[in-house]
Symmetry: C2
Subunit: 242 residues, 2 copies
């Protein structure tokens, strides 16, 4: 299995992803929120690029639609939920359609879909995703770090490195130089992931805004076996094989 890593959503273009299975990672916080929403019973998730697109879908579907996401890490005016995983409770989202827009994660998912169905990953479900990739992918995987505003972020790279580490246990993997770099950083950081990302820009922005509980939550590892998959405009859950 070949493994490539893309450093930010900005570079997840068709040419780079061609022929590979894309996996989108946005640890802080979009993909963590999505996995949490499925854990708490959301029916499906529609990732959109703008609040306007979200309002338009809500007006069209009318029932059982809830709007979530952020701009500048805060709730969008007129939306039901912000981008904290703690907001996505069973009471709020069970059996609902969640329409979601965030600054980086949702656009990364839409961009990566040029290559086909997109797996959605974060620390919460990293092992489940890696095991599913191990079962399903014959040729090449592209791990897309969403990043922030076009820039690489350490936390997404650490999660990508963790997924590579699991895949290496099953397969003879062929890593690109960038995948090798990402895996190496994971190995030197895994003893204390919080410490490793404490200098990361987006981590500090969220910490300064008072999101300590979210930060703690987003680095919980392997608590979910749910694998959200984006296909034909909608994210649904694919339960990992037992």
């Amino acid at each position: 299995m070949k493994i490539n890593v893309i450093s930010s959503a900005k570079y997840a273009d068709k040419d780079i992803l061609r022929g590979s299975v894309p996996v989108v990672i946005d640890v802080l916080r979009a993909t963590t929120v999505m996995i949490t929403a499925f854990e708490n019973g959301v029916r499906n998730i529609i990732p959109v690029l703008s609040p306007e697109e979200a309002f338009e879908i809500k007006n069209r579907l009318k029932h059982d639609v809830i709007l979530g996401g952020e701009r500048d890490a805060e709730i969008i005016p007129g939306f039901d939920l912000d981008n904290s995983p703690y907001s996505y409770t069973v009471e709020m989202i069970k059996d609902k359609t969640l329409v979601m827009t965030t600054t980086n994660g949702t656009s990364a998912i839409r961009a990566a879909s040029s290559a086909g169905d997109v797996f959605i990953a974060a620390f919460l479900n990293a092992r489940a995703v890696a095991e599913e990739l191990n079962n399903e992918v014959k040729d090449e995987v592209s791990l897309v770090c969403s990043g922030t505003n076009g820039n690489y972020t350490l936390e997404d790279g650490l999660c990508a490195g963790y997924i590579i580490d699991i895949l290496k246990m099953y397969h003879d993997v062929e890593l690109t130089d960038f995948a090798h770099l990402i895996h190496s950083f994971y190995l030197t950081s895994k003893a204390d992931v919080h410490e490793a990302v404490s200098k990361a820009k987006h981590y500090r922005v969220l910490k300064d805004k008072g999101f300590e509980e979210d930060l703690e939550f987003c680095f919980r590892m392997d608590e979910s076996s749910i694998i959200p998959v984006f296909s034909e405009g909608v994210i649904t859950k694919k339960q990992a094989k037992p």
Copy 2:
């Protein structure tokens, strides 16, 4: 001082480099060759994008022009020199104008020049470049890893990490997440740089082609105090301050 690292020449665009001093690194082998050429007395170097552009300049300047570079790591038909630093002897290049085109390095230099004068670095002159940056740059440095065919390569990243490591000794530096990743990899690899890059794709390609001596040469550290600078279409040497 802020430090950013660009993962490949492909991403060295004007928007990303704006306001920073660009430094281009192509350890294997273009920038190593350039530094060696200045050590051996070349007058100046004109980096061009194509063999045709090189022939056109030679026809125009007529005297004391020598053509060097590679495609697929081999000499270009009609050129005087290949892309091995060992080819750039005093006998061949002293007081000449070298017109050079390589697959990645020369295009990285041309791309980076959108931000202003470009420093040329490799392991050979890394410390001299870092010290010059320390003296000259007030605000931001962009270390551009040339990479190979649009992809990140470990050896350029290691050299960038080494330059960051030196700058950190002088300055309170502010690293982007990607610069932090690159520096961290350097720290875990510095005890044996050859071992660290032995899995790198471009390194293996050159090794398979029989360029072991070049590989050994390109990882020699700090043997030159020459700082080539690309300004207004020509690379000339800037001697480091004593």
